[in-house]
Every structure is written in structure tokens, then in C-alpha cells.
């Protein structure tokens, strides 16, 4: 087993553990921090795949910005009541967990049936490590792909974000007026 697989098992295992911890955490801050841990593990996985740019972006965007915002809003809103009234036995929770477990087992089953995970060899795409290094590092390759081949989708996504920002402002304004 090479380094990548070991790292995958370790980081993936920690991420899986933290996901369960996030679902079961009574305390909202603990849940948010578990999510932060999952983000960090994902960034570590990207890093092990030599995708340093994506790893760094994962850290900057999710760990550095999104999760700070989450934790900030949790700290500012007083969630004492939610924390006290949190129960695993309400019908909606039961339904959610059952659905989640069924979907999870389904995915695992399909994966095990169709891909012999630990035996099959991966078919490498056009961008292997040597090729990427040859083209000037993965940041450059990604930038070229993003701003030439996928330019339109990139712009459309930014437009969607703009719509979301304006929507948030409008909603907040209506409440305060």
C-alpha cells in the first residue's frame, strides 16, 4: 500500500468519524467544528494527490471564510434552546437517518458491485503528474482550463453567486425595513 492509500485511509477515516460526530453533536459549535475538521481532512487529501492549489483553495474558502462565518453566526445567535431541545427520537430525525443510511448502503453496494475497489487499476486521464509539471504546475494548468475551455461556465457560476448576494441583501433589507 503506497502513501496515497495510507493517507486516504487515515484522512478519510478521520473525516468519516467527524461526519458522524457532526451529525450527533448536541452543541452547534461542536458540529460546526467537526465540519471544519472534515474540510481540513479533504484539503489534506487533495494535498496528498499533489493538487496543492485545490488544497489551498479548500483551506482558504471553506476553513478560512465559510466556517468562520458559520461559527460567528452560531455564536451570535443564542442557540441554547435548540441545544436543550435536541433529541434523536423525533420522527423527522428518524426518517432522515433512515433515509441517509439506506442511501449510503446503496452507494456502497453499487460501488462494490461495479468497481472492484482495491484491485482495479485506475485509468489515468491526460493530466498525470509529469504532464502537469511539464505544462508549468497545476495552478497554471487549472487557470488555462478555467479561462479558456470552461470560460462560459465559470462566468455563469459567478453570475449565480452575484444573484445569491443580491438576493441575500434584498431579503435582509425587507426584514429590517
Amino acid at each position: 500500500m503506497d502513501n496515497l492509500n495510507l493517507a486516504f485511509l487515515f484522512l478519510g477515516g478521520v473525516a468519516a468519524f467527524l461526519s458522524i460526530a457532526m451529525l450527533l453533536a448536541k452543541n452547534p459549535i461542536a458540529a460546526a467544528l467537526s465540519l471544519l475538521g472534515i474540510m481540513l481532512c479533504t484539503a489534506g487529501l487533495y494535498g496528498m494527490m499533489q493538487e496543492h492549489f485545490i488544497a489551498a483553495i479548500q483551506l482558504v474558502v471553506y476553513a478560512g471564510a465559510v466556517m468562520v462565518l458559520f461559527i460567528f453566526s452560531i455564536m451570535l445567535l443564542n442557540l441554547k434552546k435548540e441545544e436543550r431541545d435536541f433529541k434523536f427520537t423525533t420522527p423527522s430525525f428518524m426518517a432522515t437517518y433512515t433515509a441517509g443510511i439506506v442511501i449510503f448502503i446503496g452507494i456502497i453496494f453499487q460501488l462494490l458491485v461495479h468497481y472492484d475497489l482495491f484491485k482495479s487499476t485506475m485509468i489515468p486521464g491526460p493530466f498525470n503528474t509529469a504532464e502537469v509539471a511539464n505544462l508549468g504546475g497545476n495552478t497554471k494548468v487549472l487557470a488555462h482550463a478555467l479561462f479558456s475551455q470552461y470560460y462560459l461556465s465559470f462566468e455563469v457560476i459567478s453570475l449565480a453567486l452575484l444573484v445569491a448576494i443580491i438576493g441575500a441583501v434584498v431579503l435582509a433589507k425587507r426584514k429590517f425595513d
Binding site: N27, A56, V60, A63, G64, V68, T139
Partner: protein
Amino acid sequence: MTLFDFIQMFAKMAVVVGLALSSVPFLVWFERRGSAWMQGRVGPNRVGPFGLLQSVADVLKLFLKESFIPGHVNKFFYLLAPAIALAAPLGALMVIPFGSHAMVMGQKVVLQIAQIDSGLIFLLAFAGLEVYPVILGGWASHNKYTVLGALRGSSQMVSYEIAMGMSILSMLVIYGTFNLQEMVAWQGDSWLGFIPTWGAFINPIGALIFFISIFAETNRLPFDLPEGDAEIVGGYHTEYGAMKFGMFFLAEYVAMVMASALISTLYFGGFNLLPGFGLLVSWVGGYTDGSPDALQNVKAAFEFVSILLKVGFFLFVFVWVRWTLPRFRFDQLMDLGWKVLFPLSFVNLLVVIFMSYFFVS
């Protein structure tokens, strides 16, 4: 990974982490003596020569104190916060290049721990994690003062990250790379033979904004609002004692070292030889056997000295500013961040983009 790779990686880590951590007692001593000197006092001068061992005694005291955990805190997060506080700036230090490369036993050793293509973003990522210990420590302590300190500290850090990011972005437009080694190489030229092409000379406003922002990011005076003896006691680390407080204290100074290394790499030529060091290199090089490897090693050693001197200078400035400027009020701090630095850095970014579009291409 061969044994040689492993050893050189480990040696580089030991040097960087060791230097960053062992500079802290000296910095604390310098801060206290410097403040005394600026205020016409004597300062600590009893323990060891010039009081140099005072910080050692202080650290010893922090180590030997009882590690007391207040009963009302959230234990896990309370203990986690100081660990993150120290780990984040140390993690950021690993992408700072501290020399071009040395030749050891015929093999090339690049003097940078993690040679990452997108090193600058990596650095920003770790710098962004520095806000967590403030939030966590303040929240987990279950104390009004600590929560207020945490809110102040985190909002200050988040606000100034914007101005800092904008000024870094303007440098990225100029350098055209995320790779810190390439950035330093870019700054290696000189105009008219003696003015080095440092980022600060090309983009002075960006350098100034960045310089101001790192004071807020490291919670140093004049922006040390997360703490305030008269208002919120010790701020987010009020409930911490013994070495847990010591780790927050250590983290502040390691963050200062990191910020100084970052500003000297981005804006002040990084490990490029200081003006005049070229003569020294050739003088010392004359005493070696004259092989290219030995000359490269001498050059690498002086490059290391150069960046150390630059980092040392900025650490001195940190102390100098602390004992010269009065501290801001919180609303003034926010005004400066959002109404002055943010628009200024944005305009500066636009100017730099236009300039580089018309002059470089």
C-alpha cells in the same frame, strides 16, 4: 523518498521551527528592554547579562505552574485553542523560502520546506486559520470578557484580511505567479545597478497597506483590541493560565515572525542578497576551494543571513511601533479597515492591473 531527502527535509524543519520558537524569548526580552529604553526606564536587567535570561526564567515559571483548568469551561475546545494558535503560524512558515539552494554531497537542497506551486495561497490558508484560536478560546472559556475579546479579535482579523488579500493580489498581478521562489527570483534584478527591484519599490501603496494589515492580523499594538486591561481584562485568553497562556503568548510572537518573513519575501526581496552582500560573498568565496558547489553554499549562507536580517528588522519595527503609537479605539480600527484601507487597496489593485497591462505587455 530516499534517506537523504528525509534527512534534509527534517533538518530544514528543525532549523525553521527551532529558529522561530527560540527567537521568542529573545524577542520578549527585546520588547521589554526596548520599551524601557524608549520610556527612559531601566527594564529587566537582573537575571543574566543585560537581563537576557529574564524570559528564560519567565518561561520556566509558566512551565512549572499548576496547569489549572477552570470548572466552567468547555474542556476539549479550551485545550484545543492554544494548540491551533501555535500550529497555524508554524504551518505557514513552512512555505517561506529562506535561500535559493545549497549543495550537500553533490545533491541539490532547495532551502524551502514545502516547494509548493501555489505557495502563497497555502500561506494565506494557514494565516486564515489563525482566527480560530481566538474564537474558540473566547467561546470555550464561558466568560463575558473572553467572548467580547473573541468577537473583537475575530472581526478585526476578518476585516483586515480583506485589505491584506487585496494588497497581495496586486503583487500577484505584478509577479504573475503564486510560487514564492519565483517571486523572490523576480525581485533579484536591480535598476541602475544599485536599486533592487523589490516589490515595495514597485507597489509602495500595496506594501504600506500590507504592513498596516499585519499589525491587525497579529493583534499587535496599535491594533491590540482583543485584549484591553481596562475594558475586557485579558480578552480571549483571560481564563488561560500557566503554559496554556504561554502557548498563546508564544503564538503571538511566532505569528510576528511569520508576518515579518512574509512581508520581507513579498515586498523586500526575500532571500536576495542585501546590497553590498555580493562583495562579501566573493570575499568569503575566495577562501573556499573555488568549486561551484562551495561557492553556491557560501551564497546560500549569505542569502539566509539576508532574510534573517530582513526578518529581524521587521521584528524590530513591530516593537518600535508598539511603543511609539497609541492604541486605536475599536470603531476607529474598523473605520480604518473598511473605509480607508479597503477602498485604497481596491483602487491600488486597479491601478496596478492597468499599469501592468499597458507597460508589461
